[in-house]
C-alpha cells in the first residue's frame, strides 16, 4: 500500500487505482502518516522546509471545530447532457432553416419544373387577370407576409392555384 502511495504522489497511478487508494488513505491514519512523511522528504530534498513543526496536526485540531463544508454538488454529467442537447437542437434548427430555404429556392430556381407540374406561371397570370383587385391587394401587402419574399410569393402562388382549381371545377 505504501508503495502505491509513493507512486500516487508522483502522479504515476491511473485513475482506477488512484481513486480507491485516496479513499483508503483518507480513512487510514498510518497511511496518512506515510503520505505526510513522503511529502516531507520531498520538501527537504528540494530544500523547502522552513519549519520543523508539523502544522497538519494543529490545523487538524482547528478543522474539528470548523463546521463541515458542504459545497453544492456539481451535476457535471447533466451539464454535459444539456450542452449536447443544446448543440443538437442548434443543428436541428439550422438544418430546418437551411432545408426550408433550399425548398423555396428550389421553387424559385426551377420555375419551369413547377410550371410544368402545376401550370403555376400561367395560373398566376390567370389570377391577375381574373381578379385584379385581389392581386393588387396581395402585392401591396406582400411586405407584411410572415416570411421572406420567397415565402410571400409562395403564399400568393398558393392562393392563385386554389382559385384556378375552383375555376376548373
Amino acid at each position: 500500500m505504501s508503495e502505491q502511495i509513493s507512486a500516487l504522489m508522483d502522479g504515476e497511478l491511473g485513475t482506477a487505482e488512484a481513486n480507491p487508494l485516496l479513499a483508503t488513505i483518507r480513512e487510514n491514519k498510518a497511511l496518512r502518516q506515510d503520505w505526510n512523511d513522503y511529502h516531507l522528504i520531498g520538501d527537504v530534498l528540494r530544500q523547502t522546509v522552513i519549519s520543523p513543526t508539523d502544522l497538519a496536526d494543529k490545523i487538524s485540531v482547528r478543522l474539528k471545530s470548523e463546521p463541515t463544508v458542504l459545497a453544492p454538488h456539481k451535476f457535471a454529467p447533466r451539464k454535459r447532457e444539456f450542452i449536447a442537447l443544446s448543440v443538437a437542437a442548434s443543428f436541428a434548427a439550422v438544418a430546418l432553416v437551411a432545408l426550408s430555404s433550399l425548398k423555396f429556392s428550389a421553387i424559385d430556381d426551377a420555375p419551369d419544373n413547377l410550371a410544368a407540374q402545376s401550370n403555376l406561371s400561367s395560373n398566376t397570370s390567370v389570377a391577375s387577370q381574373s381578379n385584379p383587385s385581389i392581386n393588387e391587394y396581395l402585392v401591396a401587402h406582400q411586405e407584411f407576409s410572415p416570411g421572406t419574399a420567397l415565402l410571400a410569393n409562395s403564399n400568393f402562388a398558393q392562393v392563385t392555384y386554389t382559385k384556378q382549381q375552383d375555376k376548373a371545377r
Binding site: L22, T48, P52, D54, V69
Partner: protein, 199 residues
C-alpha cells in the same frame, strides 16, 4: 492521475465534508505555503500562525473553489491575502502588488532553507531533519539514490527515469518507494511518528 487531478479529487472530497481529504492537502502544501509566506513575514511563529490561518480560510472558502485554477494557485492567493491582512492589522508594510505579481505560484522555486530569526529550537530541529534526510540519502544504494534524485529534484517521470537508468518502469517505482521508505524510517524517531507508535 497527475498532481492536479489528485488535488482536485481531494478538494471534491473535502467539499463533500471529508475533512481528512483536506488534511492530506495540508500535509502536502504546508511547507510550500510557509516557505512562500516567509518572503513577507520574518518571524517563524508568525509564519506558522498565518499558514494555519490561510488553510482554515481556504477550508471555509472551499465551496467557492471550482477547479478553474490549480488548488495550490488558489491556496497561494489566499495565503498572500492572509499575510497582507495580518501585516496591515499589525501596522506593518504589506507586500506590494508588484511583489505579489512577480511571484509565480506554479513555478515557484524554492531557495533558502531557514530564516535567520528562527528560534534556536526550531532551527536545531530543522537542521536535524535536513541532516537525517541527507545522511539517509548518502547511505542509500546508488540505484535508489539516483532514482529518488531524478524524481524529487529533477521532477522526471518514471518513464524518463526508466530510460535513463535502463530498467523497467516497475523497477523505478520500486526503487523510489524503497528510497522514500528508508529515509522515512530514519526520520520517524525524530518526528515521533515511528510505525510502532502509530497504533
Amino acid at each position: 492521475m497527475g498532481d492536479r487531478e489528485i488535488d482536485q479529487q481531494l478538494v471534491e472530497r473535502a467539499q463533500q465534508g471529508d475533512k481528512h481529504a483536506f488534511e492530506l492537502l495540508v500535509a502536502k502544501y504546508q511547507r510550500k505555503l510557509g516557505r512562500m509566506l516567509s518572503r513577507f513575514i520574518r518571524d517563524q511563529a508568525e509564519i506558522e500562525d498565518v499558514t494555519q490561518e490561510a488553510f482554515i480560510k481556504a477550508y471555509r472558502a472551499l465551496p467557492s473553489f471550482r477547479g478553474e485554477s490549480a488548488f495550490y494557485t488558489w491556496l497561494y492567493r489566499i495565503g498572500i491575502n492572509t499575510a497582507k491582512n495580518y501585516l496591515v492589522a499589525l501596522g506593518r508594510r504589506a507586500p506590494t502588488s508588484t511583489e505579489i505579481i512577480s511571484e509565480d505560484a506554479e513555478g515557484y522555486e524554492e531557495g533558502e532553507l531557514l530564516r535567520d530569526n528562527s528560534t534556536p529550537e526550531t532551527e536545531l530541529m530543522t537542521k536535524q531533519i535536513a541532516m537525517t534526510v541527507n545522511a539517509a540519502m548518502d547511505s542509500l544504494p546508488e540505484e535508489l539514490r539516483t532514482a529518488i534524485t531524478l524524481r524529487e529534484i529533477d521532477g522526471m517521470s518514471y518513464e524518463d527515469i526508466a530510460n535513463i537508468m535502463n530498467c523497467p518502469i516497475g523497477t523505478v517505482r520500486s526503487r523510489i518507494f524503497r528510497a522514500r521508505e528508508t529515509i522515512a524510517e530514519r526520520l520517524r524517531p525524530l518526528l515521533g511518528t515511528s510505525k510502532d507508535k502509530r497504533w
